[in-house]
Symmetry: C2
Subunit: 318 residues, 2 copies
Amino acid sequence: MTNNNIPNIVALAGGVGGAKLAYGLYKTVPADKLTLIINTGDDFEHLGLHISPDLDTVMYTLAELANPQTGWGVQDESWGLMQAMRRYGGPDWFDLGDQDLATHLLRTEWLRAGQSLNEVTAELCDRLSIGCTVLPMSNQPVRTLVDTSEGILPFQEYFVKRRSEPMVTGLTFAGAEQAEPLPSAVSTIQQADLIIVCPSNPLLSIDPILAVPTMRALLMEANCPKVGVSPIVGGAAIKGPAAKMMAELGLEVSPVGVARHLRDVLTGWVIDTIDADYTAELVSMGLTVQVTNTIMRTNEDKIRLTKEILDEYPAFER
Amino acid sequence: MTNNNIPNIVALAGGVGGAKLAYGLYKTVPADKLTLIINTGDDFEHLGLHISPDLDTVMYTLAELANPQTGWGVQDESWGLMQAMRRYGGPDWFDLGDQDLATHLLRTEWLRAGQSLNEVTAELCDRLSIGCTVLPMSNQPVRTLVDTSEGILPFQEYFVKRRSEPMVTGLTFAGAEQAEPLPSAVSTIQQADLIIVCPSNPLLSIDPILAVPTMRALLMEANCPKVGVSPIVGGAAIKGPAAKMMAELGLEVSPVGVARHLRDVLTGWVIDTIDADYTAELVSMGLTVQVTNTIMRTNEDKIRLTKEILDEYPAFER
């Protein structure tokens, strides 16, 4: 099924926040017109398993399997593994749900058999009947390292084991220089009619994608609207450590601060009504600004926000 | 804690049946006097995990974690992983319980880090507070292959995937020639005051142990009582395919058939009262015969049978 009159959309996303808008897009545009490029800087090896938290969150969300309370993990999850792991006194700092484990086991098995992360992701999505294209930002490993007041921590140790408590002094995306974007991501970006930067943590979810060589230039060169949704609303992050990290790194914790940080790859910026006062400043930065309710609590919210964004662009008039 | 006046016991065991008598021994003799040597011919790799079914069954049984209905696996188990695996259309022919998975993940991780199977087993037993010594029959991989009417099948494919249905024409213990017994198993057998052959499948559980080079000779040379309990009672196996396989391989399906098969490494044989008629024939084979109720349904049964066996040997008079 191709719809040649319907524009191609590329969206960049990380975990929970990004997955919400990705869900809205998935439910709004034809699946064959939608490509999601997902952060893999949070990936890590744990108990011999290759875990890709952001890919999993997006997959589970699109497949309507995600836990609605947490936004990550699988709904109606059981925790037998963790119970037994604690009995053994084994590592229990990273929650591995029993259903979730099937994803990790299959991914790890297929990677070990020589498949690329992209092939594995496509196969998992296919088996969950996810129709759109979900691409890891690279097949090569990129690992986010957090420079903190307590030293350099691998991302999951900072985020999960240390609950984002240490003060952040910098971020490194180890391996990024040797990573390559997927050829299909390159061609899809080049043919995109609209690029969406989902409301993910700019430092932890979007920056690693932009750190993959050529990706930032590709996005800058893309001759189409490039619209982001601010993950900072009312001076705080909807979820996660974005606001705390931005402050620690000297960035303004506001829609303006995020827009400045991502300015290279944006032409438009969607902010919440609570932040309407920032409109003039954002416009003065050359951005097309849209002000609306950006909080996505329900699936209806996700779809409504998506439609409001698309309606701003003539190509998407319905 | 050593009790130098108390005899050393070595028991050979496989899975469910063997684990029952192993439990009886564990509850009856001082832990530091008991060494269990466990079949690893059933071990296999599945979804990247190293699974040792017989070691697990023995560990779970001794730790009072075993599922009392099945005899294998963990009690109060959950099955979230299998549910998700079926959602993916992934391999679901081998039941992996959620709690059980902690064992497989830790074992696999530690083996990959360079520990031997014996070291891993000791660590797992230690963490489950199992006081006696549980030894794999070898640190080297030995894999039972079943020659069948449908070709050669790896053991778990024969046993689980094909439910022991194909007719068996032979058994091979691949890797056995390159395997070595553990040095601690050798010295413990040489110092044993009593050797017990638990009521495990003689072809699938005891033969692989005897196939490890020097193991059969060591047991033959051991100058102590060597007592087995018949796994065949009333012409049938208590559990599993022992009777069917024995018949297919032309062995007499009776306590005599098993005793003949294991004659090299036995001085005594314990049979069920229902099989009392075989006593004369077994005695004529030179075996010391004990007739009692050998069916172990409850933990009390396991301990009673153990005590009855030990009471036959003056060293164990209490």
